[in-house]
Symmetry: C2
DNA sequence: AGCAAACTGGATAAAAATATCTTATTATCC
DNA sequence: GGATAATAAGATATTTTTATCCAGTTTGCT
């Protein structure tokens, strides 16, 4: 339902949210979240361009949340790497459906709306808070 | 959110549901629903194997709903071609999460559950009824 | 019987998503 | 300033999804 890429992005963000004070390197994040390192680099780029994280090069550098975990929603993360494809116009390009979607696509889009709402109302800190002491992604 | 394949399957099923009394050929369905003919054939095979439609070969043959439109849900159609990947075990394969998903994956799965419920509670006849006279997919 | 319509199944091709690798650029520390 | 750690970016490879094509089989019709 969401892409592998979005799953990776969420893992990385949750991890960063757990220790937001110091930068974490691509390598660290990859190891903990078990995401292929080379690919994670791309995902982190996307998140960076979307303004959700900041990066610092050089020794001691890495990635850090760009704003507090309370202010970052699951929705923002997913949107940054692999947006939810809301249905705004008829996929069959029927003229008759330009104004109003047919019941089929209307109902599909309603389902996506549910997901979107769910994602919008969940912040990274919600997730961390729920985890308690263990940490969300087992840090071995 | 759902695959192209699932979208095609739904279009085909809605079309069949609109005229359930006579068989419709792959070619007919493809033209109306604007699905590539060769690919539609595969999709129809899947739907047939799932028991949602029946097929008849030879002249005058084609595909027909296997049961009344009132008894076929969107969920069944999607499941037949491209199941919703509910999260039942930790995607990171962490031992600590075998019993209980971490909050991240728990919340993702909750969203899928919403979608699943929405799909389960919608039948093909619901969709057709909502369309009124026009027909769901413009029959040109 | 013979022909044409229609599904069936397998092989193949094209496109998109996912993943890897390599080279550059930037920053820090000594 | 040089060595090293780290991101940035582009090229390439692999896998999955989507799509096409073709030969085979069944069915109905005359």
């Amino acid at each position: 339902m969401i892409s592998q890429t979005a799953e990776y992005a969420l893992r990385a963000m949750v991890y960063l949210a757990q220790e937001p004070d110091r930068p974490h390197t691509n390598q660290q994040i990859a190891r903990i979240t078990r995401v292929p390192m080379g690919y994670l680099a791309k995902v982190l780029q996307s998140l960076s361009k979307a303004g959700l994280i900041t990066s610092r090069r050089g020794l001691g550098g890495g990635f850090t949340l760009a704003k507090p975990a309370e202010e970052i929603t699951v929705y923002e993360v997913v949107q940054a790497v692999d947006p939810i494809p809301r249905i705004t116009s008829c996929p069959l390009k029927l003229k008759a459906h330009r104004e109003k979607l047919c019941p089929l696509h209307q109902r599909l889009d309603n389902a996506w709306e549910l997901v979107e709402q769910s994602f919008r109302s969940t912040t990274l800190s919600d997730i961390i808070a729920e985890a308690g002491e263990d940490g969300v992604l087992c840090e071995e």
